[in-house]
């Protein structure tokens, strides 16, 4: 699976950790590092068109393109949506600052590389949708720049 470079490196780091609990603690570390969208970008109530479909943790995604680099912002309204926060924090750390072409290499399957395969159907649908929305922002930025 081709992925944005920094995310591919992170996936490799996760592969080195065989202990499930240790992997979960790594994900929790990211979740605790989660930073919510700053007020300059968005304030509540957040617009529905920024909401991630199929995500029960009520996640939102915003992006900016500056000097050819993308910056992503996230909100997760469910206080118990810790997996969504972890995924959002990982995406921010690994693809914010990259070109739209690099971000567009995202694959929703990265969710299983990070979280393992035993997610509930609902949880995997929400997390893969979050990745797809971020990828969609990049694809849109590419198509707008070519118009």
């Amino acid at each position: 699976m081709e992925l944005p470079e920094k995310l591919a490196e992170l996936v490799n780091d996760f592969k080195l950790v065989s202990d499930k609990n240790e992997r979960m603690d790594m994900l929790i570390f990211y979740a605790e590092d989660f930073e919510e969208v700053p007020q300059e970008i968005a304030t509540r109530p957040f617009p529905e068109d920024k909401r991630v479909p199929a995500c029960e943790s009520e996640a939102y995604v915003w992006s900016e393109l500056q000097d050819g680099k993308m910056k992503f912002y996230f909100a997760v309204e469910n206080p118990q949506g810790i997996s969504a926060k972890a995924m959002a924090a990982i995406l921010d750390e690994t693809v914010s600052g990259s070109s739209p072409e690099e971000v567009a290499k995202l694959s929703p399957d990265v969710v299983y590389e990070l979280f393992g395969k035993n997610l509930s159907m609902g949880k995997s649908a929400g997390l893969t949708s979050l990745v797809s929305v971020v990828k969609g922002h990049a694809v849109k930025a590419i198509s707008e720049s070519s118009n």
């Binding site: 609990n21 979960m24 199929a54 995500c55 810790i82 035993n118 997610l119």
Partner: protein
Amino acid sequence: MTENKFTSYANSDILVSTQWVADNLDKFSSDSADPEYRLVESNEDPLLYRSGHIPGAIEIDWTEDLNDPVTRDYIQKEAFQELLRSKGIGPNTTVVFYGDKNNWWSSYALWVFQLFGFDQVKLMDGGRIKWELEDRELTKEVPSYPTTEFVANERNDAPIRAFRDDVLTHIESSLPLVDVRSPEEYRGERLHIPGKPNEGALRGGHIPGARSIPWSSAANDDGSFKPVEELEELYVNQNNLERDKQTITYCRIGERSSHSWFVLKYLLGFENVRNYDGSWTEYGNLVGVPIENPSV
């Protein structure tokens, strides 16, 4: 252990309050090989327990611990026995469950325990949501308890679990079914509702004759159960369900319907209520079965 609300339910001791749990934390962390109580957290979100849980609580992961890894089914006796032994649950232990999502997954775990006849169970009213709203203590410390000599019964699904053939017989006998999904899903307008995952059914609608009583009708905003009078009004008076009639609950994958199963069986005292865990992800994919879809 009981709040005034609890004493009016058909089973007045099936629920414990967050306050009772907080007052009895030492009971859950006993080092006995046959402790009086263990506290078990069961969530949908696999990270939640390790990110912080009630002190002394152990985790039972519904997906990894209770499901067969290959077949769409639950574990068998040997695996259940080994699981409970390793978690420090003894022959005389009462297990208090709680979890995320308004106790959906902990109700589901409690239901799976009952497949093995393990009926020393209780549910913490309100689950994680209420505990967190009350700003109560959470810890990351994962406890380890002595292995026990717990001996499991054989699994006996029939009393509380319905399979698809049971459902088809149920329809023919015009017996009541309760669809606990959203009204939009029930009406077949959507295979899934916006903001919720599509969990893979090829057809929309509901099982013929099923009443629509969304699971959330039984819960308050803080995740706790509504008082018995309101539950009685909803299930019995408005929807004409009868305590002595065989009743089947279903949703999409069986977790929300475990919540409603719990309400009917324990809070309202229905005598014969089964959860159809195949639910819409099975029924909505079956070839040739009857479906009602008012939107078509």
